[in-house]
Amino acid sequence: MSLLLILLIVLPLAASVLIMLGAAPRVMALGAAILNLLISVALFARYDLTAGGWQFLSEWKILPKLGINMTLGADGLTLTMLLLATLVTLSAIWIAPKIDKREGVYYVCLLFISAGVIGAFASLDVLFLYSFHELALIPTFIMIGVWGSGDRQAAAWKATIYLGLGSFILLIGLLALYLSIPAVSRTMDLRQLDQMAAAGTFHPSSLIYLILLVGFGSLVSLFPFHSWAPPAYACAPAPTAMMHAGVLKKFGLYGLIRIALPLFPDAMHQFNGLLLLLVIGNILYIGYVTVAQKRLDWTIGYSSVMHMGYIFLGLASLNIIGVNGAMILMFAHGLSVAAAFALCGEIRRRTGTLDYSELGGLAKVTPVLGLLFGFAAMASVGLPGFANFAGEILVFFGATAYGPTMILPVIVGVWGVVISAIYMLRAYRNTFWGPMMTRWDSLTDITPTALGSVILLLVPLMIVGFYPQLLVKMVTTAIPR
């Protein structure tokens, strides 16, 4: 029984309790985030690749009569996601500006989101997978509503209703899944579910897959359940947008990989056409919508919706290469979108506006900020050398291998890369190049704190970009045979 995984969840919660009791919020939050990052790196390094499977297991009996236990465990995919979660958490807490009102609640919310996503990724029990995700949602809403900018309450309310409904549909799907198990062997344990599915003793109806797809899909902003995301991200404070777009949103994909892939192989084949149609919507339609945006935060918000299309494309290819690509893209997109939102927040703090008509030429006064944004934008487009490229190329290879039905989606996907280059380069140009308004003359460049926290995100992106095998061999352990 390894206690490291539960420690990852408990540390942020313990720090929150200390903050509520009056400890210095920023110090406690940073301390918990640094420790968590160290633990997750250690776990990542200690994972035994030759043995594979679930490691670092620990179990607490919660409702043994119903077959519900809090079981924590990790395979390569879990550890990759935990690494993502702890990296983004540290970066988000590090870059958080000085908070004037209710500083304690701010950091407690961030720590709760962190504990929630870590718990969701580390849970082997489907009920806890769901529960931990819910735990992360409430502080997200509070943060957008309290510390957001612009029309924050409307945005937060919209996201609340969408995500509330999404997770509720998800709960119905999971309940239906639980009920479709023969009464004697009812369990929520992923390992046993996988075994039953592999042994052929468990055939859930493919209708459940559709419910799960809608539930998980609206959490990941799958087209057409995406409209909550851009306004929420545009209004959210930068650390919240980083945590949600970077990590929390990946939960939907993670759930599909963990539950839908092993349990619904036939249903996934059967409904692949539908999923591909939505993927095309995600890439093409949202791509063009992104090009039309007139503000930097909305551009990045829509771009994060669009890139989900690639990850879904990887899932839909239903083979090792494609799913591998999807998993690496989850990691890469999490880091790159978090970096983009972090820099976006830095720009907003300096200028008070993110409207392209008012920005421009900022590279003259904030050259380092501009350089970093260039990196983040290129990573997001999928330039070789960044992990995003490795992920996308695998997704395309995997999709091509699926068969002739994939030809159109792959063409759309490749064209999507061009679209994302268009909007990202335009965003870059409109913000940092061209003529500059004189009122920006006195802007200061990025602070060492913000520099550090963005570099923390960009460096792993480049490491994986140059040496993707590091992640590929890890995430492969999670792919059902």
């Binding site: 009996k61 509503g145 509330g164 509720f168």
Partner: protein, 480 residues
């Protein structure tokens, strides 16, 4: 220790406190509430002593039982009464405002003593296995509650609530007496446990008379439990009654009503034909209660009314459990749900009382910006609302999970689907409170004071919600 003795201890405690109040000339009456709470804690400790053989009075054994249900709910009622008594010192300013008297503190003291008699009545009610005993104990509790609901006699809202409660309560008493006499007339017994035998030997022709009696009793019990279609008194009475009493009504008196309902239905469970018919009725009532409670709560702007409708909604979930009594896990699920319900509902009322004390009203808008004025109270309300809505890691979530599970086992698929929809509606109206607390600007910035008693009460209830939500097994084991 057995029921009967515990109740006698509670009544004696009440009488002693009345005498103390009469002969003491302290003008601050808070000590009565603390004494009462301490005394009840003592009784709670007594309840953990081993049971004393068969009851000494042979006649009492025919009226009172000490089974798992009775033992659990007696403790439940004691805890609910202790919490209510500890809320009363925080309510003193309101009491004094509406109870002018020549003598300082005159007429305030009894407010902390009367709940003891309600508690004794309800304790007898959850242990009773005879209709006569049920009726007598019910009346002891209800008549005392009439006084308590109307206690703010110069406040028209309290008087209005009391009048409605009195008229409808008397009506439901009429129903239950009428039902009892029909059942007694047909079967010749008032003992619930003897009912199945008596009914199985009945001729076909008297079945309808029996059903009529049962229907009358169900009507009366749906008054007590706040179930559709006799839930309409709840919002008005809850809004007008003094806050500690509202919280007591929504927890303790509802629980006692449910226990009687459960005992009654369990005894009829032995007769499949009757049980099936009753089950269909209860299922229908559960569905309608769920729909009414949850959807009528959505437009509410007054916190007490909102909690009133929410208590109707929770009665709906509990009825789902009652409709699944055939399952062995139903009683543990209902008991667990009530334990969580006690913690989360009373926590909401404690916070509400502190907020309305400081802001002068019960509207949800009074909670605006609470997170600025008192992060502690806002956090407590967040926890309570999360649990009421059924968010994971709280008692409310596990409670709903257990209830849904037994309902599914009994094949109530439609009911569970409806339950899922109403849970979503619940999210909406509980979230309205969170929105007010965290997103809205407060009308004034002054901090809201929280007394030491209130603080500890909140911490204990909050801990209860979290512990039950994370580690439910010990309580469930005690209920099996």
């Amino acid at each position: 220790m057995n029921s009967l003795f515990l109740e006698i201890a509670v009544v004696l405690l009440g009488i002693v406190l009345l005498l103390v109040e009469a002969f003491s000339d302290r003008s601050n009456k808070d000590y009565l509430a603390y004494l009462g709470a301490a005394g009840l804690t003592g009784v709670l400790a007594l309840s953990f002593l081993p049971q004393i053989g068969p009851l000494p009075m042979s006649s009492a054994a025919a009226f009172i039982t000490s089974d798992i249900i009775s033992v659990f709910f007696v403790r439940f009622l004691l805890i609910a009464t202790i919490v209510t008594l500890l809320m009363i010192p925080g309510y003193r300013t309101v009491l004094v405002r509406y109870l002018p008297s020549e003598r300082a503190g005159g007429g305030v003291g009894e407010f902390a003593i009367l709940p003891l008699f309600v508690c004794a009545g309800l304790m007898w009610m959850v242990s009773a296995i005879d209709f006569i005993m049920i009726f007598v104990s019910l009346e002891l509790a209800t008549i005392t509650l009439y006084v308590l609901v109307t206690y703010l006699r110069q406040n028209t809202a309290s008087l209005e609530a009391g009048t409605k409660f009195l008229i409808l309560g008397a009506l439901s008493t009429g129903f239950i007496v009428y039902g009892i006499s029909w059942i007694f007339g047909v079967t010749g017994t008032t003992n619930i446990l003897a009912l199945p035998d008596a009914i199985s030997t009945l001729p076909e022709s008297s079945l309808y008379a029996l059903l009529f009696g049962i229907a009358m009793i169900l009507v009366a019990l749906s008054f007590k439990t706040g179930a559709f279609p006799f839930q309409f008194w709840i919002p008005d009475v809850y809004q007008g009654a003094p806050t500690p009493i509202t919280s007591y009504l929504s927890v303790a008196s509802k629980a006692a009503g449910f226990v009687v309902l459960i005992r009654f239905l369990l005894s009829l469970e032995a007769l499949p034909l009757l049980a099936n018919k009753l089950n269909a009725v209860i299922t229908l009532l559960a569905a309608l209660t769920l729909i009414f409670g949850n959807f009528a709560a959505i437009p509410q702007t007054n916190m007490k009314r909102l909690l009133g409708y929410s208590s109707v909604a929770h009665a709906g979930y509990l009825l789902m459990g009652v409709a699944s009594l055939a399952s062995l896990m139903a009683i543990p699920a209902i008991g667990f749900y009530f334990a969580g319900y006690l913690a989360m509902t009373m926590l909401a009322f404690v916070v509400l009382q502190a907020v309305s004390e400081a802001t002068g009203g019960d509207e949800i808008s009074r909670f605006n910006g609470l997170s600025k004025r008192s992060p502690f109270l806002a956090g407590a309300m967040l926890l309570s609302a999360a649990s009421l809505a059924g968010i994971p890691f709280t008692a409310g979530f596990i409670g709903k999970l257990l209830i849904f599970e037994v309902a599914l086992k009994q094949g109530h698929y439609g009911l569970v689907m409806l339950g899922c929809v109403t849970v979503a509606a619940g999210f909406y109206y509980y979230f309205k409170v969170l929105r007010a607390m965290y997103w809205q600007q407060p009308s004034e910035e002054t901090a809201i004071p929280v007394s030491a008693t209130t603080k500890w009460l909140i911490l204990l209830l909050g801990a209860g919600i979290l512990i039950l939500g994370v580690y439910p097994e010990p309580l469930l084991a005690a209920l099996r």
